[in-house]
Symmetry: C2
């Protein structure tokens, strides 16, 4: 069934807000055999009218997000009703629910909220757990067989989509799809090397749909097809890429690391200078991380390296805070102090101005202590902006640890 997503919001087209709706909806509907065939972003106001009027005739499902809120630039509900020739009817039950929710949370309501209780005739109301504006499902209208109006804020959209939209979609979509997908994530190899290793053998599988995506510190490999396609592809990928594959289900590197540590009943501490908490943040984003993650030492200053980890100031003055020696000492101290099985440490030069000819901006050392005689220290060079520098450094650290956990 051809599916279109229309996102309304001047804030999206001005770049004030990152559009996460496409990613969310696409992932939710794929198990039903549905894909978003085209996604369009238009500004608030009259452009919504154009987008609905121009939406491809063949579209069977149309999702529209945004413009249901209380402020004056929220007019999706009104324009849609007008275009479809539907009267708006006030629903006192919706207003009551909004008032009760506000009372529970201690919010005060303004008069403008009442507009959110208007419902086009024939529409199904989709309750909003995390906000005031309900969503609306308009079946069998003159523009598309199935039209959904959904709220813009992700924390309102997500539960509404899972709890109210998905059950409707399950009754609409013919249940005959056997298409499956698998996303392999590969660390430590470039995109063209991954394709060279396995690409020709994969495309030779009849009926396969294959995609590559290069991301900071990794390549994602997407396989879509029936069970037999996936089995054949899996054998080729396993033989050709081996341990470089850290995930076979699209899971993140931190998820893979936490899972391995849990299985082996091992624990982790981190000591971070240049990554400034980003490594601990990634690890603690994984549900269940508390079983393996003991402690994080964010030692941004030299004083903190000494005070929290006991790093000898003479070591820093002799080799520099960004050095193999300091990275090693940080990892070993974090491991000893926390009592963890492993400790990772990062120290590098992220800030323009702090570089030297010997250690230019982007130089970073990552150390992994495991209590053995030789702490592993690797030097990397990531001459990128700060967010990418942090991403690549934490990726390198997690990958060092993943490779070190005994099978």
């Amino acid at each position: 069934m051809r599916t279109i997503l229309i996102n309304t919001g001047t804030e999206l087209l001005l770049g004030d807000v990152l559009n996460t709706h496409l990613r969310f909806l696409a992932q939710e509907i794929f198990p039903l055999g549905l894909r978003i065939d085209r996604q369009i972003t238009v500004p608030d106001g009259e452009a919504i009218r154009d987008a609905i009027e121009e939406s491809p005739k063949a579209a069977e499902i149309v999702f529209i997000t945004g413009g249901l809120g209380p402020t004056t630039d929220d007019i999706t509900r009104e324009i849609t009703a007008e275009l479809l020739g539907l009267k708006l009817e006030h629903d006192p039950a919706i207003l009551r629910a909004i008032q009760e929710r506000a009372a529970r949370r201690g919010f005060r309501l303004t008069d403008r909220i009442a507009r959110q209780a208007d419902v086009p005739e024939g529409a199904t109301v989709l309750p909003n757990e995390n906000g005031s504006a309900p969503g609306l499902y308009l079946p069998l209208n003159i523009k598309a067989p199935h039209l959904f109006l959904l709220p813009g804020p992700p924390r309102e959209l997500h539960p509404m989509f899972r709890n109210s939209v998905m059950p409707i979609l399950r009754t609409i979509v013919p249940n005959k799809s056997v298409t499956r997908r698998r996303t392999y994530r590969v660390a430590g190899m470039g995109e063209s090397l991954v394709e060279e290793a396995i690409g020709e053998r994969l495309v030779a599988i009849p009926g396969i749909e294959l995609g590559y995506c290069a991301r900071p510190g990794e390549v994602d490999l997407r396989i879509i097809g029936d069970e037999s396609v996936l089995d054949q592809a899996d054998a080729i990928i396993t033989a050709g890429l081996g341990a470089a594959v850290f995930s076979r289900d699209g899971g993140s590197l931190e998820e893979a690391v936490v899972k391995l540590l849990r299985e082996k009943k091992q624990t982790l501490a981190v000591a971070e200078s240049c990554t400034g908490g980003a490594l601990a943040h990634r690890i603690t984003n994984v549900p269940g991380a508390s079983a393996v993650f003991l402690a994080g030492y964010v030692t941004y200053s030299n004083e903190a390296k000494n005070g929290m980890l006991g790093i000898d100031p003479r070591l820093i003055s002799e080799y520099g805070a960004v050095s193999e020696e300091v990275a090693q000492a940080m990892a070993e101290s974090a491991r000893t102090k926390s009592g963890a099985t492993f400790a990772l440490a990062t120290t590098g030069i992220a800030a323009p101005g702090d570089g030297t000819s010997e250690k230019p901006v982007g130089t970073v050392f990552v150390a992994l202590a495991d209590g053995g005689a030789a702490t592993l220290v690797r030097k990397f060079y990531f001459p990128d902006d700060r967010p990418i520098f942090k991403e690549l450094t934490t990726q390198a650290a997690l990958e060092m640890l993943r490779r070190a956990i005994p099978a």
Copy 2:
């Protein structure tokens, strides 16, 4: 000048990758007086053809991202040349640059790379600092006056856009725009309350374009207009919202906090339990944070709370790790140990299963120690998923600190 952005990539429509191109390009081109009027995402392959053919006749500038890479699903260059009736010519200088870059970084090249040196006749080549595929500028073609083919990976796109595309745009765009924008960011008030406080007076300003955007823990208020509009709006916003406005230039709360601390020559440490490094990560994302951020104690386990911060285990067993008492002790200890002016501490229940009837999932305590007699502790309730829980908690902590820094 009407501007269209076409993003190609099956990985975007499947939800494997978040599309950040719209945000980036929109922010870059606004100072030229340009906006993205419509953004469209289509899958790899033949859909690119449809998107180019269907692109609105009135479009003057068309940006197309993605599909320039080395793998078999990258065909934007070839389809565009075919649609425009342009021959592809091999450019040996591009191949040489790709080979030199690979040698410098120690990459090995595959045969497929050579295709990236093909250039449609009449095109200007846009060098790629961070990847192999160059971008292409096709002026005065049959589809649009100005057509740009740009790489999909953000780390390749961003420097190319700033270094090669912007100089071309500056020669294209008539330099007569006086439209300015300002984004105010407001903490601690809901969207409808912000509008109630100032909305009517703002919309009464002739020529103003006004937008609201609700985000986790804040509301963004966007004002677009000429200098006079911006001045009038600023007076109304300052009078109506006062200290709730933490940014007048769209900057983040962490940027506002780091700036204030730098101005006052004050320093900060953090002690994180439930936020697991996210607070330190946000602060160290700000360039210059090293001048004010001393140390982060990520004490995920009770042992770490005792070992790193000296929290008495009896305090934890009496009140629970998630309690006002433990939050206070964490903040005070982090402050004393680090020697910082301020310390923030977080402890809460993020994980389903860990809640109780008295302290349900989403309960969190944030403490701020400043060395005075009374450490400030506030209790919040954020019954949301883990990423939003972390976002709201770190937002609340940063806002407590911002309000506490003496003017």
